[in-house]
């Protein structure tokens, strides 16, 4: 049973590995120049050797085959359709994360990181991206541009953020208990569910609304289309990355420091979003552009503040100590103190 599966998937793999392995030699050299850090070395060292062993003699044939295969879009019911959304390498994901952490004014996240520009990569990839640009300008649906969007990053960033929120919120309780032994510790597992649902809803529904709104305002343009849905999701996902270190730093129980970190992270994240959206909304009326951008920033701020208030509540000790006759129940911190009386076992 396993071998039949493997053979079937190997066929699909060849199609996607063409896309993955042709930029290999180029991607490694770019990573070398811009990011000489240890954690990218995994992709750098082994990626080169892998390309050298298997693919070097078939490079030109596969590039031609790639252009043919790109003409036919796989249907959405096939596995390879979804595989195309995961077509990123470690180095690409790390570069996108770095790009989201340091937003620059003239430096559009989508165009720079998500749609591959020919002058940043080496000669091999130059050929492939030339073919892609031809496809784009010939009026193909923008799905071919989203082939490079890669939703893998946003998905796992959201998962990490949800779990880190729940875990650090719980850790705050542990630290508070050390300082004040009357606080009863409980794992508070329901917060994991709340965190997961809220982060994923934010990261998928807000881009959906934004994309819908932008499409409604723009119609469908060929020259520079509004971002596809997946690119919007990608932008939001990567912008949430900066919240992860912010949440970890919120463990420090100094309130003004927490608000300072929150403001810094929110500023970075919202700036990245605004710079990415600016080229698209710039051509609309001033009023609509301002309203849209301020709505985006406001929603982002609401998310940050909501996380802070729900997961990192400061604990007043007098509400929390359980009355002595209900020692078997953990204290319910967010509930008003009258409730434990009604929950007393009869």
């Amino acid at each position: 049973m396993a071998s039949a599966d493997d053979q079937a998937f190997h066929e699909f793999e060849e199609a996607t590995n063409l896309l993955a392995e042709t930029p290999d030699a180029a991607t490694t050299s770019r990573s070398d120049q811009l990011t000489p850090q240890g954690h990218v070395a995994v992709a750098v060292g082994s990626g080169g050797s892998y390309g050298a062993e298997d693919e070097v003699e078939e490079e030109s044939d596969k590039a031609a085959l790639l252009q043919e295969k790109q003409q036919q879009q796989p249907g959405f019911w096939t596995f390879s359709y979804y595989q195309s959304f995961f077509d990123v390498d470690t180095s690409q994901v790390l570069n996108r994360i770095k790009g989201s952490l340091l937003p620059r004014p003239g430096h559009n996240f989508v165009r720079h990181h998500l749609r591959n520009r020919p002058d940043l990569y080496g000669m091999e990839f130059h050929r492939v991206s030339q073919a892609r640009l031809k496809l784009l300008t010939s009026g193909d649906p923008p799905a071919s541009a989203s082939l490079s969007a890669g939703i893998k990053g946003p998905f796992w960033i959201c998962a990490t953020l949800a779990f880190v929120l729940a875990v650090t919120g719980n850790l705050t309780l542990v630290l508070a208990q050390r300082r004040d032994p009357s606080i009863h510790y409980s794992p508070q597992f329901h917060k994991v569910t709340v965190a997961g649902i809220s982060i994923y809803c934010y990261a998928w529904l807000v881009p959906l609304a934004l994309w819908g709104f932008l499409r409604w305002r723009k119609g469908v343009r060929e020259r520079m289309g509004p971002y596809t849905f997946l690119e919007t999701v990608c932008v939001y996902g990567y912008s949430l990355f900066v919240f992860i270190p912010m949440v970890v730093l919120w463990l420090i129980p100094v309130p003004w420091l927490q608000w300072l970190f929150g403001a810094l992270a929110l500023g970075l994240s919202a700036t990245g979003l605004v710079f990415t959206l600016w080229p698209v909304v710039r051509e609309d009326t001033r009023l609509v552009a301002m309203v849209l951008l301020s709505a985006v920033v406001l929603l982002h701020a609401l998310l940050a503040v909501g996380c802070k208030l729900y997961f990192f509540q400061s604990l007043p000790p007098e509400n929390v100590a359980p009355p002595p006759q209900i020692t078997s129940l953990p204290s319910n911190i967010p509930l008003p103190p009258t409730l434990p009386k009604s929950m007393a076992p009869s």
Binding site: M1, A2, D5, D6, F9, H10, E13, T16, N17, A20, E21, D24, T27, V42, A43, S46, G47, S49, Y50, F79, Y82, Q83, F85, F86, V88, D89, T90, S91, V93, K152, F155, W156, A159, T160, F163, V167, N170, Y185, S186, P187, Q188, F189, H190, V192, T193, S328, L329, P330, S331, N332, I333, P334, L335, M343, P345
Partner: protein, 193 residues
């Protein structure tokens, strides 16, 4: 599952022979997880009995005792179950979409079996919690959970990392890390009522 045909019309021994064979296969895989070597036993004849036993054990032991402490407290049985199986399925889908050459059930099998060190950690924590609570108690539990977490990661990446192209290995291994981290967190914060 990899098992031979059983001979029909032999009701006395036919029920115990495949059962013992399956149990032996599960036990052999447990040994392979505890001493991870570069062998293909987990991949070649995969089965999901081991992961099911481990997941049920984990969920039974982690679930909170009292029914009326709904707002706080540890996970319910269903929550643990959902996290383990949904997490394993998501990681498998992720590694397949990245272009790995491991099949769906093989990956589920590997991820499920590598929960074994963490289950052992849970049993040890349960025993340690019978002693007096205190910082030493917590340090011992923390140490045990960290060691078992590292063991799980090493065991599962020994099987899964080879199936990915090298430039995507970190992308495929990170979700495994997150998965076992969440399970370790559930074990570490386990406080019996």
């Amino acid at each position: 599952m990899a098992e031979a045909e059983e001979s029909p019309g032999d009701p006395g021994t036919a029920s115990s022979r495949p059962l013992m064979r399956d149990l032996k296969a599960v036990g052999k895989k447990f040994m392979h997880v505890l001493y991870p070597r570069k062998s293909n036993t987990l991949l070649r004849d995969w089965d999901l009995w081991g992961p099911l036993i481990l997941c049920v054990t984990l969920a039974l032991m982690l679930q909170r005792d009292s029914v009326d402490s709904e707002k706080d407290g540890g996970p319910q049985f269903a929550e643990v179950f959902v996290i383990v199986w949904f997490g394993a399925v998501t990681i498998t889908l992720n590694s397949k979409l990245l272009g790995g050459n491991i099949s769906f059930f093989q990956s589920l099998c590997v991820l499920g079996y590598c929960i074994l060190p963490l289950t052992v950690a849970l049993l040890i924590c349960r025993l340690v919690l019978l002693a007096d609570p205190g910082p030493v108690n917590f340090m011992v539990r923390l140490f045990v959970v960290i060691v078992m977490f590292a063991w799980s990661i090493v065991a599962s990446t020994a099987f899964l990392a080879d199936s990915q192209p090298p430039n995507r290995r970190a992308l495929a291994v990170y979700p495994v890390f997150l998965f076992y981290f969440v399970i370790s967190w559930m074990i570490l914060t386990f406080t019996p009522q």
